[in-house]
Point group: D2
């Protein structure tokens, strides 16, 4: 059996410059010249803190509704929030896809499925349901709808006004894992088995049909209604006091995250509340559902109001301050980091020094 040979190795009698050229020619790179860049002392994210204004994105989404029809080949009328730090990629952070989807009256976004998982957080509108593996889930503002890994889904607007929702996907993560699968449904709309099935069987607190799989790939509950979320926020503030409350959306079968690859939360800040400065590994996207205020991210001030969306990069110091009472829907990649014990979070002792104010464009 032949073994690794060091005796008869060629000699390469070259100077440093030629040596570097030889490396490049043979698809090699010298670590010593790039170590500090790829191994910094603390994270140096490419993801930039950024904010998209509702006043900018909604008119464009509406205009898209006039210009673009939805049909096979261009299934979704979606505007992706492309972080300017990511070299032109249509991703909001290196792990999270955030986007605005616009569905006009009478429109149907056709049925398909993919192994990236998605959530839909409804921002405005009415008269829409998303069918997920045959279960038609009504969508109301503030609702969270799951369309998990490989489940068929189509969106249907049977009302008379457009709906706009926030799409969150783990697509960038799966792109990086080079593991995307996608399939179109043979029909525009999949057959509907019923309306609100997942809520009928899985919204009973602590109740489940006997004998059910206790560790399913996805949460059996597919719709989380705003009225429940809001009640929970109110109870938390009433019972625990303070000026900040956060609710997490969970898989009703096993208490894990509603979607395995990201965390979904809703945070309420009371008027005037200012959070401590914190930082955590992993990125998060904030969708301002109600209220207005400002956040300081890594020294830059971001002013926000209803419908605005902003992203907080990994390990960036951040604090939030509510002018009026405010509700943020927050999507993050925390469970991915936790799976490998890479999640770190800390509270910083001091307020950040403000070094600038973000100018939305």
């Amino acid at each position: 059996m032949s073994t690794i040979d060091v005796k008869n190795a060629n000699t390469v009698e070259v100077g440093y410059d030629e040596f570097c050229g030889a490396l490049a020619a043979h698809d090699l790179q010298a670590l010593w010249s790039l170590q500090r860049k790829i191994m910094p002392d603390t994270p140096i994210p490419a993801t930039q803190p950024w904010l998209w204004k509702w006043d900018t994105i909604f008119p464009l989404a509406k205009r898209a509704g006039e210009l673009i029809t939805i049909e096979r080949g261009g299934d979704r009328r979606v505007l992706a929030l492309a972080n300017p730090g990511l070299h032109g990629l249509p991703f909001t952070s290196t792990t999270l896809w955030g986007a605005i989807q616009y569905l006009g009256p009478g429109e149907t976004a056709p049925a398909h499925r993919h192994n990236p998982s998605a959530i839909r957080f409804v921002m405005t509108g009415s008269g829409v349901y998303t069918t997920v593996d045959g279960d038609a889930c009504e969508m109301q503002p503030g609702d969270l709808i799951l369309t998990p890994n490989w489940m068929w889904h189509d969106h249907n607007n049977y009302g008379d006004e457009p709906m706009v929702w926030f799409d969150g996907l783990d697509l960038p993560l799966l792109v990086n894992l080079e593991t995307i699968f996608f399939e179109n449904h043979p029909d525009l709309q999949q057959p509907v088995r019923g309306h609100g099935l997942s809520e009928q069987l899985h919204a009973g607190p602590g109740l489940a049909p006997a004998g059910e799989d206790r560790d399913p790939l996805n949460s059996p509950l597919l719709r989380y209604r705003w009225e429940n979320t809001e009640r929970e926020l109110e109870e938390l503030l009433r019972l625990r006091g303070g000026s900040e409350a956060t609710v997490e959306f969970l898989n009703t079968a096993n208490g894990g995250p509603a979607i395995r690859t990201f965390a979904c939360q809703m945070t309420r800040l009371l008027p005037g509340a200012r959070t401590p400065t914190r930082r955590a590994t992993g990125s998060s996207v904030h969708v301002v559902f109600q209220g207005s205020g400002r956040s300081v991210i890594d020294g830059t001030v971001f002013e926000w109001g209803p419908g605005d969306i902003f992203v907080v990069p990994s390990w960036a110091p951040v604090d939030h301050e509510a002018g009026e009472q405010s509700d943020h829907f927050v999507l993050s990649d925390r469970p991915v980091l936790e799976a490998f014990r890479l999640y770190k979070r800390e509270k910083l002792p001091d307020r950040q020094e403000v070094r600038g104010v973000f100018e939305p464009r």
Copy 2:
């Protein structure tokens, strides 16, 4: 409390071209123009199947040994295997860092730690130990040495010949998660508590000190000796027959992977063995430790011999054929995919049609 407003939205009376310009100006991208690219039916990896020849990399590593000294600021004499599909990044696949490290007689690669985890698979040489959190682990050809997440490590050559090993890291994954932490040790070498401590306490089969943490971040065993690996391969072939055997390296505390973020395996093929054609999600790097043969990856033939290293991209069909008896050390990202139930593997019914032969450069 202010809420999302759709009534007073500005109107954007622009044509399609202007509309597209407006999107770009506001950091938005239209999904309908890029959906098929980011959501293909099956994975289209950027990672290319590729092979680096020992005859090429060893002389360059040796020359680096003459040209580059190891000291603070350039800690490691490492040549990264840079996949040509990855736009100049020094990564072997989108999740795996593969590299060759060269350490000359009398040299010490100084102590540091980082949260990317690493394995070292020894290719050739003697007289070296790696100290991991105070435990000096001897390195012999065929050994696997772990330097897990955030453990101090330095490499020391006290012998009279150089050593070359393969470095495998989850660095690309952590770069994408934007979660790298790094620290230099105050001293060139960390203090040594003992030699082979992890083997003394954790190489007793099914034995562990009572009361020990049963779910540690990392395997308490840090060195997996070639003699044990080879014996296990021989037993497997003897007891189960066939012409192919694969051993997996595990965390002795909980039976999980030795390192949480990747799988390490050693595969032996008997002379003339040809594996079925398989494909799996996720990428893998093969280090040919002994023997020679060829692999067909996605229709291209790759000839390999001792010391050669090649990479198999996600979902690429692959089969291996051994000329003489061959041992491959294989590093893959399978546990990352499994954590999110994204791992898929299948055997293909037919041999691949060969469309070309890889020409190493």
Copy 3:
């Protein structure tokens, strides 16, 4: 170091009878004489199938209410359902304690705690709350109330009628594990932090306060209301059809059983429904909440009506037949068996041959 010695062993020159006497004298028993008894081919439970009639137990419980006052030293007015197969032990099966508790108007069962966990299933009455670690849980007929391992609890009747509930405990299991701890609270009643706290924070479907322990010892939800249970039963029957539906009560934090050591279920049978004949390892106690019918257990017919309670031993074939629509609350030790992979369940192909009718006494 001295080692086991076989050379200098005494010789015992005795005949078989003397030998047997010698064994007994030295606290030894010969396996060969008892193997078939302790190692039968299939389970031979000591637990007998048995039934207690409401018409018998309620008048006695009521009379106890007249004869026995509740005070320190005799904390609870509880009648234990003592299985006649268990040699006088006050246990319903070898793992489950089932009992009837009676609390008159104005009475308080004083605060204490113990590591046996308990559930309370309310049979009749109103105007009572159980305080569990400061959380006052109202009790209504059909409700399930948890008083888990080591949580303070007292029961308080502030109404004008008595309440009767079923107590289920894992006490026999813990007696056998010889692991009981008990403590009286310094006061008759513990301080009340609030009313319905667990419901306010943990009855939002798929919602929980962020950052909460996801694997607590006990379910954070302490009260499971009958109205929710009944709605879930109705939905199950509506959506899945059939004439039998079973709901399981779960730990809202992790999807495990509401109490770690037993399973709680509610089964509804439609009028005329007859279940297949099944058997499972482990025992269960059925509390008939509504309706009437009969069950065949190991060949014996048990007629039941509202308030009756019966026990099904391990591996006994059983089928149930509802005359009118019927709801059974069922307590079993299934999670204990599952923890050690000792749970087996099967459907038998044939109806049981009826060999007798149970005569309640």
Copy 4:
């Protein structure tokens, strides 16, 4: 649907004595009269601290070898260590079966299987193997052999001296769970697939055949050799210092206990070592493999030497003192308690007051 009726309940106009009689007649027991007995403040085990002397049990085992033949119907020549606190049951504690098995030259204990799991700890002898699902495991003094849940096993003495080993089973636990299954093999001896198969594939430290089940019901390693155990004890003492070391026997596939329902440990005490006084919930059986000394259990002194076996009840204070260097094999039910978070362990501040000395009988 008929519901629970309290209106038409019969009145029971009886005095206290008659009332008590009525309870008994209807299979009811009043909790208030028995609460302190079944709910003590701390565990009051029925299991007594007890010790069986090698000098007593070995001659009786040997005599059994002369008087009793091994054949179908009396499969095993086993003397059970029957705790005098357990009302004549042949159990060493309420959860553990401890016994001595004697197998003479040329004898075979026929093949059978049962869902109680067993371990064999070899005390003396040679020339024996136990076949476990076709894998012939050699037995040497100090070895631990597993015959887990439902695996076929027969014992075969092909040598010229008798062997004596300690049998440990979870039989009492399964008796209490009323879940015993047993089956005789059609043949006296099952077919042998090979010798030492489990060691050949699973004794490589941190190595396993790829693709193997990582959460099997039982450890894939069936024999734990004394030489490995002793080496681990020596290393532990050398590396960690102190005068006491304990090694635990684990499932090589997942790091859990070698057998799910009990913990197996080997403890070495150096000459003169005296442990702190500790107590823990759950019971344990100590088999003195080598050395001599004394233990104080709940105030009583137990002197022990090679081959002696003693039992420590739940929550009993215990400390051990080695005269000469001593090795104890210790079997306990700890994993059962841990599964339900009932395991508690503490170190007591003071030495126990000695109240008596155990007189073996």
